[in-house]
């Protein structure tokens, strides 16, 4: 089976001349949970926008979820790749939660019954079924984040990309989010600079710095390398020991592990 993300020499230069991504080579397999770490301005969000065809590479090649990223594949690509943006207020633009979660599936041209079933299922998966008829601005930050994830889950994407999912959450909402993401059985790319969050969810981590991929290794190795972290303006919060963090297992981890070994 094809890789979930397959980038070769991916480069993006903004019209202003700023080189945001420079020769990224990246392969992510199905079912993997990968953290994309890096300081602000490293190109993390630019990379994320490429995965869904919102930006296109100025050089290099990118294949996501089995599709070459180009104008023709956009519709299909957006159904296969779900982006969860950093600020839920940007993502939730419909007057009610229910309509917002239905927005994606309706754009995919699904029938009404199918859409209704998907909305119910997605809201149940993020434990927000009770809020279906509420307006997004009446929800707490943590609830908005969960609904934002539901809006994407309802499209049943193969690859889920989350931008700074733990930003602006209080500790309890953050812990609940970790539990929720751990149960979602999808290939997942988590863009963050919350290192303990990455350690809890992702077995593999990348470090993006000034548009280059400078590390791609098991999370435990990356986070244990203080010099590497310091060189790219990352650090573990004071008093947090890496070995005290337990990694959440992937749902159906054994099966995924086997197929990876067979494939690799």
């Amino acid at each position: 089976m094809s890789c979930a993300v397959h980038a070769r020499g991916l480069t993006h230069r903004y019209p202003g001349g700023h080189l945001a991504l420079e020769g990224i080579d990246l392969h992510i397999g199905h079912g993997e949970r990968v953290a994309v770490l890096g300081p602000n301005g490293a190109g993390k969000t630019t990379l994320m926008l490429h995965l869904n065809g919102l930006l296109t590479a100025t050089a290099g090649a990118l294949e996501v979820a089995g599709l070459e990223v180009c104008r023709r594949s956009l519709g299909e690509l957006r159904a296969r790749v779900g982006l969860v943006f950093q600020d839920p207020d940007d993502q939730l633009f419909m007057p009610t939660v229910h309509e917002d979660v239905a927005f994606g599936p309706l754009n995919m041209g699904l029938g009404r019954d199918e859409v209704a079933a998907r909305v119910d299922e997605a809201l149940a998966a993020v434990r927000m079924s009770d809020a279906a008829d509420r307006a997004p601005h009446l929800l707490s930050q943590g609830q908005r984040r969960r609904v934002a994830i539901a809006t994407v889950l309802a499209m049943d994407p193969m690859l889920l990309v989350l931008d700074e999912p733990s930003a602006n959450l209080d500790p309890r909402a953050r812990r609940e989010l970790v539990g929720l993401l751990a149960e979602i059985d999808r290939t997942m790319l988590i863009v963050t600079h919350d290192l303990p969050f990455a350690a809890e969810l992702c077995e593999r981590s990348l470090i993006l710095s000034a548009g280059r991929l400078v590390a791609d290794a098991p999370t435990d190795e990356v986070l244990a390398d203080d010099d590497l972290l310091a060189a790219h303006d990352l650090e573990m919060p004071a008093g947090i020991a890496l070995d005290l963090i337990t990694r959440r297992p992937r749902p159906g981890a054994e099966a995924a592990g086997l197929s990876l070994r067979a494939g690799g």
């Binding site: 926008l49 869904n52 919102l54 519709g75 957006r78 159904a79 779900g82 982006l83 943006f85 600020d87 207020d89 940007d90 993502q91 939730l92 633009f93 419909m94 007057p95 009610t96 229910h98 309509e99 239905a102 927005f103 994606g104 309706l106 754009n107 995919m108 009404r112 859409v115 209704a116 307006a135 997004p136 601005h137 009446l138 809006t151 994407v152 499209m155």
Partner: protein
């Protein structure tokens, strides 16, 4: 923030599961706009028509168990402005003088005009407030959309409703940031900071608009707003509109 939701923001009030709350939004829009039109289109001093309008509004409020206090609190925002304008009329109309306040004469016709304008303004305002109390804003927008109001307008209304609170919250934060640095403008020159705040707010709103558009594209938006289940008119909706029209139209025609 929550204060803004309760009052200026409106939102449904009263017994949310009542019959009028559950009506199709289109029926409620047609019914209450009809009350407004009848009230506003009558000639001067058509007291019986306005009384009937008032009774219809009271009946709708009672059916939805919308407390009088809620209607008063929300109407209070608009009503004084409208009535203030009319309050000067009695002094400047010619005709039979009923009282004198120093150099100013109060005319009878002027008083009648004042009373009529006040009655019309009250009926219009209370109808709108009541519509907002028995229908959620999203439902009103959906109703308008189904009634063939241009999609661009309903889209703008929907986005405005969604982001009004976000922008108000941003504005509130910027104001506290100014105030916490002891900003208290005393001269016109010092007000320049407000101008910068306004332009910062504009820029933020603009870039938010861009981010929202990206988020829409990411979920497959292609220029058309998809719609979930269509609205269906039921017998209760016809009864609601029918009752209102049957009560008011005959009176309006006679007067």
């Amino acid at each position: 923030m929550s204060g803004a939701h309760d009052h200026a923001g409106g939102g449904p009030a009263g017994d949310l599961s009542s019959r009028v709350h559950r009506l199709d939004p289109r029926a409620k829009i047609v019914g209450l706009v009809a009350v407004t039109l009848v009230g506003v289109s009558t000639p001067i001093a058509a007291w019986e028509v306005w009384l009937a309008c008032g009774l219809v509004l009271a009946a709708v409020a009672a059916a939805g168990r919308v407390p009088a206090r809620v209607i008063w609190v929300r109407a209070r925002v608009v009503l004084p402005l409208v009535i203030l304008v009319a309050a000067f009329i009695p002094f400047f109309r010619g005709g039979e003088v009923v009282a004198s306040l120093g150099p100013l004469d109060v005319s009878r016709e002027g008083l009648e005009v004042l009373g009529s304008v006040a009655a019309k303004a009250t009926i219009g305002t209370v109808s709108a407030v009541l519509l907002g109390a028995i229908t959620s804003v999203p439902a009103i927008i959906r109703g308008l959309e189904t009634m063939r109001v241009p999609r661009l307008l309903t889209l703008i209304a929907a986005f405005m409703y969604r982001y009004l609170f976000v922008i108000a919250e941003e504005l509130r934060r910027m104001r506290s940031a100014l105030a916490s640095r002891a900003y208290r403008p005393r001269t016109a020159l010092q007000a320049a900071a407000l101008g910068r705040m306004a332009s910062a707010l504009f820029l933020r709103t603009f870039s938010r608009g861009e981010r929202i558009y990206l988020a829409m594209l990411a979920r497959g938006y292609s220029g058309r707003m998809p719609r979930l289940d269509p609205l269906r008119l039921a017998r209760a909706d016809a009864v609601f509109v029918g009752l209102i029209l049957l009560t008011l139209l005959p009176l309006r025609v006679i007067s």
